[in-house]
């Protein structure tokens, strides 16, 4: 689903090869959890194209397939720096190499493992939705930033079923408006009470005691509990500490990176900030700086709500 077109258009993008998958990721047509789905489905796509690979005398179809999958993994790993693509592609390539060394069918192994993995993740996400709903109490006001890949809206639905009256404040999340477009759309679909705020209004909300808690997602976690998330999360977390507002982060723990400072932060093109729907928002000669993510120290997180994605 092309998330950048919401809420005015609901359109799926057809992806037929690795290059197109990488483009979808780079252009932010999908992000966060959607990236994990794109990665796994791209591997499925490539193994379904296996008939196009000529038979190799060395290893039948298997060696060329392994090489092809390795190229897919490398292309996905190079797509965007902050999300841990490597951790997912490495898992898949581990299954593929294992099948190759045991001389078992790589294609069948990957289809079985990827589908099983996705089923497991789906179940764990639903369990996390229950945890999120349990954290939110009747009458509370929740601030969220960017988009937590559907889990907050599912939790909102659960809260509604539990007769909890909850109000949601959503930051617009410039420059791509994931909050204004996607999160508001998801929450409204479940009939939630939604109020949009500018990214610069979060201090005002907290100082005036207009929110009771903050729920954010995360794109990457470190061994010490630090996270990287959509740009703007850090200042929200600092304000939350200052004004004593609890901050919950949905995390996918990983030990691959020791601490937040080591997370590579994507710096995107200035034009993405300077232009909106083709129109310049600032006069010619203005420069722009667009970091896509920031890092939140574990000390600023009241409680992580984690799921195991390994």
């Amino acid at each position: 689903m092309d998330e950048t077109l919401l809420p005015s258009k609901f359109r799926y993008i057809k992806v037929t090869n690795t290059k197109q998958a990488v483009d979808v990721i780079r252009q932010m047509k999908t992000r966060a959890f959607g990236q994990l789905l794109v990665v796994l489905n791209t591997f499925l796509l490539e193994i379904r194209n296996v008939r196009a690979i000529p038979v190799s005398p060395a290893g039948g179809h298997e060696l060329p397939l392994l090489r092809r999958l390795q190229k897919t993994a490398e292309a996905l790993n190079a797509s965007r720096p902050t999300f841990p693509f490597f951790e997912i592609t490495e898992m898949v390539m581990g299954w593929a190499r294992d099948a190759f060394s045991k001389k078992t069918d790589i294609k069948a192994t990957l289809e079985r493992n990827i589908n099983g993995y996705l089923q497991g993740i789906r179940q764990r996400r639903l369990e996390r939705v229950k945890k999120i709903a349990a954290v939110i109490k009747d009458g509370q006001k929740v601030l969220t930033h960017c988009n937590v890949s559907g889990e907050l809206s599912m939790a909102a639905q659960l809260c509604k079923e539990q007769n909890k009256k909850v109000a949601y404040f959503v930051t617009e999340t410039r420059p791509y408006f994931q909050g204004a477009k996607l999160t508001c759309w998801e929450l409204k679909r479940f009939g939630a009470d939604v109020t949009l705020v500018a990214d610069n209004a979060v201090g005002n909300l907290m100082a005036n005691k207009m929110i009771d808690m903050i729920i954010v997602g995360s794109d990457r976690s470190c061994a010490n509990g630090d996270i990287a998330n959509k740009i703007g999360t850090y200042q929200i977390a600092v304000l939350a500490k200052e004004f004593d507002v609890p901050l919950y982060a949905l995390t996918q723990p990983s030990n691959r990176i020791p601490k937040g400072e080591d997370i590579p932060i994507e710096i995107r093109q200035p034009e993405e900030l300077l232009k909106s729907t083709g129109t310049n928002i600032a006069p010619k000669g203005t420069k722009a700086f667009y970091p896509g993510f920031d890092v939140v120290s574990h000390e600023l997180i009241t409680e992580p709500i984690a799921i195991d994605v390994r």
Partner: protein
């Protein structure tokens, strides 16, 4: 591109009068970070133009990117616009509070300058559900649109231009 390619600069939020910008020029400030200033984008549209006129290069950031600049030690000092001030607090451009809190955490001086024009304290829902006159949020979404906010004196660590 990496964050290392950016150099530390003064961060300005709000549109000041001509004297304020001329003062920056006198101090030989060559470039500043500018917050775009949702909902009306006065930072992007008006402040950037005024700075360019004085040959000060603005580097625009979205309002959610200020924290990153502090985290990466890219902010030399902060200047925020105020509408009124008393002994306890100043009524400032919305977003000043987050800069004040970040300034306190990262020990960066926060200074005040008078806003060029008087503003209402609250805007309309349409101000935030639309961007550059184009609707961005789904129908039925409410908007909370503060345009000014109080900045306690504990966050004002530098000078106040009267």
């Amino acid at each position: 591109m990496s964050a290392k390619q950016e150099s530390p600069k003064v961060l300005v939020h709000g549109v000041g009068n001509k004297a304020f910008i001329e003062d920056l020029k006198k101090k030989r400030v060559k470039g500043v970070f500018v917050m775009e200033g949702r909902p009306h984008l006065f930072g992007a549209k008006i402040l950037c133009r005024a700075l360019l006129k004085e040959e000060i290069t603005p580097t625009l950031i979205s309002d959610n990117m200020a924290g990153f600049l502090f985290y990466k030690n890219l902010v030399k000092e902060v200047w925020v616009g105020y509408q009124s001030v008393n002994g306890e607090k100043a009524l400032c451009e919305v977003g000043s509070l987050l800069l004040g809190v970040l300034g306190k955490k990262h020990q960066i001086t926060v200074n005040l300058f008078p806003l060029a024009k008087k503003r209402k304290e609250l805007g309309k829902t349409e101000d935030i559900t639309c961007f550059n006159s184009k609707r961005i949020a789904p129908v039925g979404v409410k908007g909370y649109v503060p345009l000014l906010e109080n900045l306690s004196k504990k966050y004002i660590t530098g000078i106040i231009i009267r």
